[in-house]
Amino acid sequence: MDGIVQMQRQLIDYTDSLIREGFLDDQFNQLQLLQDESNPDFVVEVVNLFFEDAERLLNELTKALSQASIDFKRLDAHVHQLKGSSSSIGAHRVHRVCISFRNSCEELNVEGCLKNLQQVKHEYSLVKSKLETLFRMEQQILAAGGSVSR
């Protein structure tokens, strides 16, 4: 029993640290509040949807920025989508970089866009790995017979 309590404590601390460090914001808490017995995997499902969506958009952005003649409108449309979906799951840092990225698109600033693309890829891979760690911790608690209710 002690083992489970300790794991639950660690999960709470880990989630709090992700919010403190700005990887996640209150929107992530909102998602957790929507999870219940009738929707026990809601957070994992939505986050996985986000991962798929983000990876598709990052590929599109990479392709768009490697064209000889850059279509800034198209670029902006993809960034706008990523901005929206990242904010809907509380991926705060990804969302913030998308805001800068949109500014670079508006300014038709190629250098800026390239830099922002690197930044958003970096922030995405960070938040992805942290969320995967968080879900792994939840799985360990559940496997040991504990619960992860908020």
């Binding site: 929507l34 929206g84 904010s87 809907s88």
Partner: protein, 126 residues
Amino acid sequence: MEAHHLTALIVEDDKVIRTVHGRMLNNIAIKNQAVENGQEAVDIHCSGQSFDLILMDRDMPIMNGIEATKKLRSMGIRSTIIGVSTRSEEIHINEYMEAGLDGYLEKPLNIEKLNSIVQKINQHSE
């Protein structure tokens, strides 16, 4: 907050946001459907369906939220239409409101914002 078996239409091109908003509405017992752009929102009304609440995203392909709102109002649709967007500048909000919205909320929605919408719908129908 009681939702009195209200129905809602989510008009949103992003799948992640459709899922989140759908679950939030389910959570307060509002039966909901989703479509992916303004044209689909118009088509679903042309097929005879109606909703108490329409959550209308602004930026969508094919037909955006401004055009769709104007079209629905011109069709005589009197549902509560709440514009949803990430834009916060007043000039953009005003432009969107003028299309015929009953209200405007910044994305992402949360439980508190949804409760304020339900209040609005209940006021609207009184």
